[in-house]
């Protein structure tokens, strides 16, 4: 079975441009998460979608960041007017959405974003 996939794998952009990052979760997973990892740091939570509930956006660092999810499938993370500090690996994860200890999050390989 396919795991979580993300595209593109690498993205280089110029400061001030907008970027869109895509995540395809594991089929049947109702929960989807976005994290980012800056160089030398741990993963930082950004946003969490669970079924039809309102997403938990508490980790988004600024209003330049937004994310959408179509039903229980694809999600897109959009960064507007990119800044150099946005450079990071953006990781997507999905889970069954059980809300229990057994609800393991499975991560994609990430998108490495470089803002010049």
């Amino acid at each position: 079975g396919a795991g979580v996939s993300q595209s593109p794998s690498n993205k280089v952009t110029e400061k001030g441009k907008d970027v869109e990052l895509r995540c395809d979760p594991i089929s049947g997973h109702t929960a989807l998460y976005w994290y980012r990892q800056r160089l030398g740091q741990g993963l930082e939570f950004l946003i969490y979608f669970q079924g039809n509930s309102a997403p938990d956006k508490s980790g988004l660092p600024s209003d330049r960041f937004s994310a959408e999810r179509t039903g229980e499938s694809v999600s897109t993370l959009t960064i507007q007017r990119t800044q150099q500090e946005d450079s990071a690996v953006y990781l997507c994860a999905s889970s069954l959405g059980l809300g229990t200890l057994g609800d393991t999050q499975y991560f994609g390989p990430g998108t490495r974003l470089t803002v010049l």
């Binding site: 994290y35 741990g42 993963l43 939570f45 969490y48 938990d56 200890l101 991560f107 994609g108």
Partner: protein, 112 residues
């Protein structure tokens, strides 16, 4: 405010010996804790977890210990193998919130 901390950026051990990776946290209300392993250019993969109501969980060569009074958990790998060389992240969460709060990671190198 770093709620989950891994104070050792790196660890080197000999093959066959024990690897001990440590993690400290500040919020006593966390419901469960997890360890993830990450190879370069790949996403993290789940390794083992423990509920806050337990003090030990074992899965093959991997054991996680939780000391709630000290707000400390550790991952023991016995015996260590060269294929265990990776970055290890500890993470904590509240039940039903979904999001994980990660430490900075510890790079483990197991030498043959």
């Amino acid at each position: 405010d770093q709620q989950v901390k891994q104070n050792s950026p790196s660890l080197s051990v000999q093959e066959g010996r024990i690897s001990i990776l440590n993690c400290d946290y500040t919020n006593s209300m966390f419901d469960y804790f997890l360890w993830y392993k990450k190879y370069p250019a790949e996403g993290p993969t789940f390794l083992i977890s423990i509920s806050s109501i337990k003090d030990k969980n074992e899965d093959g060569r991997f054991t996680v210990f939780l000391n709630k009074s000290a707000k400390h958990l550790s991952l023991h790998i016995v015996p260590s193998q060269p294929g265990d060389s990776a970055v290890y992240f500890c993470a904590a969460s509240f039940l039903n919130t979904g999001k994980l709060i990660f430490g900075q990671g510890t790079t483990l190198q197991v030498k043959p």
